[in-house]
Amino acid sequence: MSVEAAPARATLVRRRPPVAVRRRRFLVAVANHSLLIAAAAIFLLPFVFIVLTSLMTNEQALSPKLWPDPFAWHNYVEVFSKAPLWRYALNTLIYGGLATLGLLLSSIPVAYALARLRWRGSNAALLITLVAMMLPPQVTIVPVYVLWAKLHLVGSLWPLIFPNFLGDAFSIFLLRQFFLTIPEEYLDAARVDGCGEFRILTTVVLRLAKPAIAAVALFSFLFCFNDFFGPLLYTGENSQHWTLSLGLSQFRSLYQVQWNLVMAATLIVMAPVILLFFLAQRAFVEGVTLTGVKG
């Protein structure tokens, strides 16, 4: 309301604006807040309905009733007996964990080389990285699929995990942007002390870049968790290796559509991510900001 309570500047003399203006500002703020509340309510509504449906019986879910009666808490247990959610979760964990590990191991040195080492091809390499970032994956899937098929690895999670050990364009770019912000002095000091570039990377840079690395790791894991196309393509035929996303989408066609169970399964799949968010809020927001503002 009182914007002008900001530090007064010597060149400026402010008086409190007239009541009319203050009142208008107040109304605007109220309107703003109301809109926000309305929007927030609309945003929450789908969640509310999903939760409510997950607690209904099957007949109720198919009917126009909006409030569960009775509350079918056992749905959450039944879901696990209808589909091997634990196995899917394990697969998702394997995929996400290994992929993130590989991604970090490979992308950090590359990002460092692009940011801090000066060499002749570095601009070209950066450009190529940008191009790789923008490329729709569908452009390369056919030959890559053929490659994995010839290696007899289709049906497993390896086609999804392994490429991450050879770098990921997006992470490289993100980390590079961050590494650019490390003051040269730190690096020079380490060099003077006789550290080779590798030591510099592991001791100085890694420590300074912890938030960025955490954000990249988080994004990578999230991507794997949410990935549908990849698992569909490579493990679609082998349900032993399905991930949660794929398993959830198939939950309805293998077993009859029971919307109450599908909604319960949906919530179960959403839960870890939301939990992760609340635990690592800062890393999330920082990471997202890193991509945008520096982008």
Partner: protein, 441 residues
């Protein structure tokens, strides 16, 4: 090593066959076939409870062929099988629910040519009735055996029909239409509560292929697509007029609230639909999921003026074959032969799953115990006018192209029926040409 032994075994068997010993001409093959013990795998689309029957029959095979252990994987589908073959990790035996892909499997060698094995074991494909014989081979190459067939007919809810004063099912399309309209019930807000006959395209089993036989409609003329015919125009015209009577959007809403086809909330099983086009397997589902429903079965009504087609229907079926990547082809063949030609096996499968057995011998097997209502489908299977869709190189793409147009025509997005059908023909021909591109003629 095994392959060498296998080839030796094959040669041995051939020699024995030529010398007149072993290698019986009966379709019930004995276990004198000399093959190495092995572990093989078979993929099937069946899921429980049908999978249980399937596994029991496979267990019988193992008993009569000691040394061969079979791992059964259920719940697969064509895409998975195709992907597995291409990915190089396919099973030894694969079963597909749709014979459509024969045209893709055979010429490319994805499923191996079975004729050498058949010759060796004296299995002749005349043991199969005509339609299954045709949909399991392509351009002379037999890369699959039919195993259980599906035929389609009419299911009707006796209770609902009686309430409306009907004692017998419709025999012609116009009777069907009249009865459907009378059996339809709407609630107070005008929403459809009970639908006499749901004509909505692609809903449950409502695809052109199933309706076609009632109008005598065919798909191809030689090797060109020929859908632009009066027969299809009549079929689609009938369907559209019934849809318009119901109201397209009203049907969409009804469908959205109806249960899944293979769930216990199936619209026919729960009495939401009075008359329904479905396959013979529904009999088993009804017994399991809706035992109190009083229903009857009959061949699907035929178009007025096509009385001669009465009693006919559409037939398709499962096929089994051996993917080319199998490392135990001899053992796989034994399983294929057992499942495809052994009367006892087929009868047992038919009883448990209520599908139609696919050899003329098994049709007459004393072990066959069809449920009431099933006889209709056996009759349809035996009817001379029952047809199937031709096998082409593009698998089911032609049907999907046709269905896509039908969907748009029924919703009103496309209004030119003749032009649309001609367009579909052009598309399918182009797809066929594309599939053969670059091949030596």
């Amino acid at each position: 090593m095994r392959r060498v032994l296998g080839t030796l075994g094959l040669l041995l068997a051939l020699m024995l066959a030529m010398s007149g010993c072993g290698g019986s001409k009966k379709s019930n093959s004995s276990s004198t076939d000399k093959v190495e013990p092995a572990n093989i795998s078979i993929w099937t689309p069946f899921v429980d409870p049908e999978l249980k029957t399937f596994k029991a029959v496979v267990a019988d095979f193992e008993k009569s062929h000691p040394g061969i252990h079979v791992k059964v994987v259920g719940g697969t589908n064509d895409d998975k099988i195709v992907a597995a073959i291409r990915g190089g990790n396919a099973p030894d035996v694969a079963q597909s629910f749709t014979s459509d892909n024969t045209g893709a499997f055979c010429p490319s060698g994805a499923w191996i040519d079975l004729s050498p094995y058949m010759k060796q074991d004296g299995v002749d494909d005349s043991v199969f009735p005509e339609a299954p014989r045709d949909y399991s081979k392509f351009e002379g190459t037999r890369c699959a055996l039919p195993m259980l067939a599906d035929t389609y007919g009419l299911y009707y809810n006796k209770t609902l029909l009686a309430k409306a004063g009907y004692k017998s099912p419709p025999k012609t399309i116009s009777q069907l239409t009249a009865m459907a309209k009378k059996l339809t019930v709407r609630d107070s807000s005008g929403k459809l509560k009970v639908v006499g006959f749901n004509p909505f395209p692609s809903w449950y089993e409502n695809v052109p292929a199933h309706f076609g036989p009632s109008w005598g409609a065919t798909w191809m003329n030689g090797d060109k697509s020929a859908l632009d015919t009066p027969a299809w125009a009549d079929q689609l015209g009938w369907q559209k007029s019934l849809i318009d009577w119901y109201g397209y959007d009203d049907l969409v809403r009804f469908n959205a609230g109806a249960g899944d086809e293979f769930s216990a909330s199936n619209a026919f099983e729960t009495g939401k639909v009075a008359m329904h086009m479905d396959g013979e397997w529904r009999v088993a589902f009804l017994k399991r999921e809706a035992p109190n429903l009083s229903y009857g079965t009959a061949p699907f009504p035929v178009a007025d003026g096509h009385q001669d087609l009465s009693g006919a229907g559409y037939v398709t079926g499962s096929i089994i074959g051996i993917p080319k990547t199998s490392k135990h082809k001899d053992q796989a063949w034994l399983l294929v032969k057992y499942l495809g030609t052994n009367s006892n096996a087929l009868a047992k499968l038919s009883n448990g799953i209520q599908n139609v057995p696919t050899t003329t011998a098994s049709l007459e097997s004393p072990l066959l115990q069809p449920l009431p209502g099933f006889q209709t489908f056996l009759d349809v299977f035996g009817n001379a006018n029952t047809t199937t869709t031709p096998i082409t190189r593009i698998g089911s793409a032609n049907q999907e192209t046709f269905q896509s147009f039908v969907g748009k025509y029924m919703s009103g997005s496309k209004t030119d029926l003749q032009g649309g059908l001609a367009g579909v023909d052009k598309q399918i021909d182009a797809q066929l040409k594309q599939a053969e591109a670059g091949q030596a003629p």
